[in-house]
Amino acid sequence: MIRYSILLFGIIATFMIAMFGLTILPKIFIDEGVKEPIYFTPFEVTEGHRIFVREGCIYCHSKQTRPEGFGADVERGWGRGSEATDYRNLLPHNLGTMRTGPDLANIGARQSGREWHYINLYQPRAINEESIMPPFPWLFDVVSEDARPGRDGLNLPERFRIPGKKILPTDEARYLVAYLISLDQETGVQ
């Protein structure tokens, strides 16, 4: 026969001990090493991170590479295994759990060209015919060919072009791409 008081005590105690073990202890151990380096994070990058979260990129792209010998991330050229210090104290954490698309922890080192990212965001099928990534047309302005002289539209393949129009990235697209390019574990952390 379980008594009410024992039940109550047991329920709270089991919870509290595990909470201490899995949330407070890691905070003490990890924070110590992570909080020290103070990064300068440009405005574009923090804004880009916000848009990355807003569009839910993390539901298809993990942002954590696995260490050598565990999985094939290193062999795929996705860079070394991620470290706690790679995340530049940007919250939320965005480690992710899915790889419907490739891992992004080191995307800035693999794809450093802005144009490539713009095209991929505007129309992923223009980069890879078989991609199942959603398009993000609301991050782009469609303007007439002669508007905003001096700025070239995206260099899209013929079938994705709109006649008489050119496609320009908005500020949000520029921030997001700045953030993606900042994801570089080769040079990001010493």
């Binding site: 026969m1 379980i2 009410y4 039940l7 109550l8 047991g10 329920i11 709270i12 089991t14 919870f15 001990i17 595990a18 073990g21 899995l22 949330t23 890691p26 905070k27 151990f29 990890i30 924070d31 992570v34 909080k35 979260v53 807003r54 569009e55 839910g56 990129c57 993390i58 539901y59 298809c60 696995r66 565990f70 999985g71 094939a72 062999e75 295994g81 991620s82 706690a84 790679d86 995340y87 530049r88 104290n89 919250l91 939320p92 954490h93 480690l95 759990t97 899915m98 790889r99 419907t100 698309g101 490739p102 890879n128 078989e130 991609s131 199942i132 959603p134 398009p135 993000f136 047309p137």
Partner: protein, 477 residues
């Protein structure tokens, strides 16, 4: 003899009275849960179809995959399963403790606030104001509102236990009490602003997310299994000792499982190892509970033919055993290396939240609603359709995604396979998932229609009970 009959009748009457007092609260919680079930199903279908037709609704900012997919999870978890689960748990508690549900007025207000919080949170996620943490996408304000509503229900649970009219606390009561203490604590800790570095937040994230299932939905689901299996069959649970072991095993080990989501990730290995050990230890409470339930059903298995409740509940209890043992295996590093980051895990989560929790709640609803409304289900045939559509739907879902998830994992770990191939190989199975979603969605519509028919009484009502006659004769209940 006569006297015994007399006292039996008194007991019956008091049960009916308890049900009548529970009527409005429980109906309100279950009906609003079912509303979120339908909404969440719609979101699920949109998200699923978008995975193989990425251009569909492609220019609608509010409906991009990255917003619909988290909202699907949040409406199912905090809407359907939490609201309906709370209704089912409170009803069981009232029956088990022989006291009416207390603080009914406050719970109604809490339920209303909860629904408004869900609505506001949903709009915020679709508008792009997600918190961006899996299972915690609702903004902190929504989460805190929900937790405060749960605390009101927790107060009711504690008061009911203090004023109970029975001596013994049945095993379902332990689980319900635990659930109503654990969930608000989880919600509050997860909302604290102390997790301010990315990897620490990731740790909190998976401690929370795994425990939301393990310490909230699982205890409510197991309480229902422990209640309805013996109730429908009219025999006691097989072993009190095993119940005890199962309960404390869950309390000790489930709490520690969260970090197995971060195997191979940027956190100290020893935290991960603790979680792997705890995940494997979960085999003990799971097997113990499975044996206890199985030994109770053994010999009267044919009753699932006649009782919709038992059919759903037994399906759910078997799914619980399956999904938990699978989970213990998935936590092993060698297995996790393959299946992490693939559709295998998505399917695993659905076996937990759907094949176990959701099916359990369906079963509970089939038992509870006729008793609180004093009306019969409208159609035996439609209940069967509901069961088979949802059961076959989730089996296709799990089979398709776990099958391909395994190959996707192997392909991903083979650097000679181009990444694009790991995507294209999944497409036929993603289509199968959409089909299974349509089947389950059809089942949900049938369930909702049966509910509307029963509660709001459009059209003619059946004159005699449809399902219970036969089981009453068979098992002399």
């Amino acid at each position: 003899m006569n006297q015994e009959k007399q006292s039996n009748q008194n007991k019956e009457l008091s049960v009916t009275e308890l049900d009548q007092k529970a009527r409005f609260v429980v109906l309100f919680l279950i009906l609003s849960g079912v509303f979120w079930l339908l909404f969440g199903t719609l979101l699920a279908l949109v998200a699923s179809i978008k995975m193989h037709l990425p251009e569909w609704l492609g220019s609608a900012e509010w409906l991009t995959f990255g917003r619909v997919r988290p909202l699907h999870l949040n409406t199912m978890v905090y809407g359907w399963a939490s609201l309906t689960g709370a209704g089912v748990a409170l009803w069981m508690l009232s029956r088990l403790l022989k006291v009416p549900i207390l603080l009914r007025g406050y719970i109604i207000v809490a339920g209303a606030v909860w629904n408004i919080a869900l609505l506001v949170g949903s709009i915020q996620i679709l508008a792009g104001f997600s918190r961006g943490i899996e299972w915690l996408e609702f903004p902190v304000s929504t989460m805190v509102a929900i937790v405060l509503c749960v605390i009101i229900m927790s107060a009711s649970v504690l008061l009911m236990i203090l004023t109970r009219r029975v001596k013994q606390l049945y095993v379902s009561v332990w689980y319900i009490l635990a659930a109503f203490l654990w969930f608000p604590l989880l919600g509050l800790v997860s909302s604290l602003p102390i997790f301010d570095t990315p990897t620490v937040q990731a740790g909190m994230n998976w401690w929370y997310a795994h425990n939301a299932l393990g310490l909230w939905f699982t205890p409510v689901g197991l309480a229902a299994a422990y209640y309805f299996i013996p109730k429908v069959l009219g025999r006691p649970i097989y072993s009190y000792g095993l119940s005890l072991l199962g309960f404390w095993g869950l309390a000790l080990f489930y709490n520690w499982n969260g970090f197995h989501h971060l195997i191979g990730g940027p956190v100290p290995t020893w935290f991960v190892t603790i979680s792997i050990a705890a995940s494997v230890m979960m085999v003990i409470p799971v097997v113990v509970v499975a044996v206890n339930h199985h030994m109770t059903v053994v010999g009267s298995f044919s009753a699932i033919k006649y009782s919709p409740t038992l059919r759903f509940v037994v399906f759910a209890a078997m799914s619980y055993t399956f999904v938990s043992l699978q989970g213990s295996m998935q936590a092993l590093r060698s297995v996790n290396e393959v299946i992490h980051f693939t559709h295998f895990v998505v399917a695993h989560a659905h076996i937990g939240m759907y094949a176990f929790v959701t099916m359990m709640l369906f079963g509970a609803c089939y038992y509870i609603l006729p008793r609180i409304t004093l009306r019969e289900w409208h159609s035996k045939k439609l209940i069967k359709w509901h069961f088979w559509l949802t059961a076959i739907g989730i089996i296709i879902y799990a089979g398709a995604l776990q099958g391909i998830g395994l190959f996707q994992g192997f392909a991903m770990n083979d650097p000679d396979v181009p990444f694009t191939d790991t995507v294209t190989m999944t497409i036929p199975y993603l289509i199968a998932r959409s089909v299974s979603g349509i089947l389950m969605g059809a089942g949900h519509l049938i369930f909702a229609w049966l509910l509307v028919r029963m509660v709001f009484q459009p059209g003619e009502q059946p004159a005699t009970p449809l399902i219970w006659e036969k089981i009453r004769k068979e098992f002399a209940l």
